[in-house]
């Protein structure tokens, strides 16, 4: 991989730091009136999701990380690994570990496309689409006519996620959920 100097650190650039692939979040060039310049850099560790802050001397460089985001459909889990398939027509499959899946596990639904991040061809993280439609598998019975009132109740969805929904929602209904906030949006 190519090396990137601090000048080229743009948001989204993938680099290696301390052995882990990271994405540049922010890069601030700081220089005293006279003297050495530095770059104050925020990076997201793509393995852990944690954001690091680091200072570099301007002109230092980091090795690029061979990281790619690919669209893949979720297929199934064998209990140990979660299997995804590329949507580019190649039918190529990738097995994803629980650790890489993280919180996305509770938003999994077959045949829905997810963004799978590969590092050196290994899946290191999976992100769900911003909105997803899931069926309610368990919730208290709906209150008839109560469509305008406030108030909410928990509902368990087919993917295993539990979200707060309005009181009028019934078991078996399909809902649109914002996966970023984990909030109910509407009936699908």
């Amino acid at each position: 991989m190519a090396n990137y100097s601090t000048n080229e650190f743009k948001g989204g650039l993938k680099v290696m730091l301390d052995g882990d692939p990271c994405a540049i979040v922010e890069n601030e060039y700081v220089k005293p009136g006279k003297g050495q310049a530095f770059n104050r850099v925020k990076l997201r560790n793509l393995m852990t999701g944690r954001v690091w802050e680091r200072t570099f001397k301007s002109g230092e460089s980091l090795e690029g990380a061979d990281v790619m985001d690919l669209e893949m459909e979720y297929l199934y889990t064998d209990g140990e690994m979660w299997h995804f398939m590329k949507t580019d027509g190649s039918f190529e499959q990738y097995a994803v570990e629980k650790k890489a899946l993280g919180d996305t596990e509770k938003w999994l639904k077959e045949q829905v496309p997810y963004t799978v991040t590969l590092w050196n061809d290994n899946a290191i993280s999976v992100s769900a689409p911003n909105f997803i439609e899931l069926e309610v598998v368990e919730t208290d019975p709906g209150l008839k006519g109560d469509t305008a009132q406030g108030g909410s109740k928990p509902a368990t969805l087919s993917s295993g996620a539990v979200v707060r929904v309005p009181l009028f929602i019934n078991q078996g209904e399909v809902l649109k959920i914002d996966t970023r906030s984990g909030e109910y949006v509407s009936r699908a």
Partner: protein, 326 residues
């Protein structure tokens, strides 16, 4: 893909920019300071280890020559002073390679002026008047800080006497960088890091901060003198508003021999660091040998002052076509 041809500043911003430039010119005209224009290209470049000069090749009447894009108009303006120009100012395009960020652009406008007969105090006074005149709201009282005191207040160390190991450990901690990357770094690098990361953001908040008495090693082209504690310091000031460094002024060095020594030291340091050497400006040395009047001079980042005056987050928003959209 279509090529993005649009300016990085809005036309309205460029109108406001023009008004501020006119105001700056009026400020100097009212004080009888002559506006000059000096070349962007020069035979010599800046040897300053922390500046990266751009250069180009030109076919001149003396054949193919390497010419340096000036990092500030300083050398040419000092030659004018030596030739008897009297007080002068310039809005000069200047170039510093690799300086890219929210407050930096490789090509930028420097407002630089020289005042024969002024001492540092008189120039600080004039600089704060100019800045106050150009900002839409008064930036607050002018407060002086000594470099040493800033380190005492914000970091509880003495920048002149702290051990090198202690400075490296503190810089690594505050910079969130592994100590190993600072292993070979000098006192100045550690101090620069602490100044930039810890102290600068605190400066110019509700006041116009003027920093004085920098360590002598950071003198650049300023004179040196002994301070009350018996340490050599630079006769130099910097001015801050809102955590942003706006200006850098010197009681100017006029001694040709010392100037030559500083150029040589810079190039020696460049060799040590594996940086390419820069042609020292022999014409400046010759001008100083002829004699330059005693006085003070200051360089002010005009784009930055405009950025502050107009409340823009990024420098490119006040430049018609910021690099690399040029």
């Amino acid at each position: 893909m279509t090529t993005n041809w649009q300016p990085t500043a809005s036309i309205e911003t460029l109108r406001q920019r023009a008004r501020l430039l006119a105001k700056a010119r009026a400020f100097f005209h009212a004080r009888d300071v002559l506006e000059v224009e000096t070349p962007v290209l020069g035979r010599g470049g800046s040897t300053d280890v922390h500046l990266v000069s751009l250069s180009t090749q030109a076919r001149t009447e003396r054949g193919q020559r390497r010419l340096w894009l000036q990092t500030s108009p300083e050398f040419h303006m000092k030659r004018l002073l030596a030739a008897g120009s009297g007080p002068i100012f310039q809005l000069a395009r200047s170039f510093r390679d690799g300086e890219v960020g929210a407050r930096h652009n490789i090509e930028f406008t420097m407002l630089e002026w020289y005042r024969p007969g002024f001492d540092l105090d008189a120039l600080i006074e004039e600089t704060t008047q100019l800045v106050t005149a150009l900002l839409p709201r008064a930036p607050g009282p002018v407060v002086r800080h000594r470099y040493r005191e800033l380190f005492h207040t914000h970091l509880h160390i003495d920048p002149f006497n702290a051990s090198l190991d202690g400075l490296r450990a503190l810089a690594a901690e505050r910079g969130q960088m592994p100590l190993s990357t600072l292993e070979v770094e000098s006192r100045e690098t550690c101090l620069d890091l602490l100044m930039s990361l810890v102290i600068e953001p605190q400066l110019g908040q509700g006041e116009l901060s003027v920093v004085v008495d920098y360590p002598a090693r950071q003198a650049a082209l300023a004179r040196r003198h002994l301070d009350g504690e018996g340490d050599w310091v630079a006769s130099r000031f910097e001015l801050y508003v809102d955590g942003i460094e706006l200006a850098n002024g010197y009681h100017e060095l006029t001694d040709a021999r010392e100037q030559r020594e500083r150029f040589d030291e810079d190039n020696e340091e460049r060799r040590r660091l594996g940086l390419s050497e820069v042609d020292a400006d022999q014409a400046l040395i010759a001008a100083l040998e002829h004699g330059m009047p005693e006085g003070a001079g200051v360089a002010l980042g005009m784009d930055r002052l405009i950025q502050l005056a107009l409340g823009k987050a990024r420098l490119e928003e006040v430049l018609a076509f910021a690099t690399p959209h040029c």
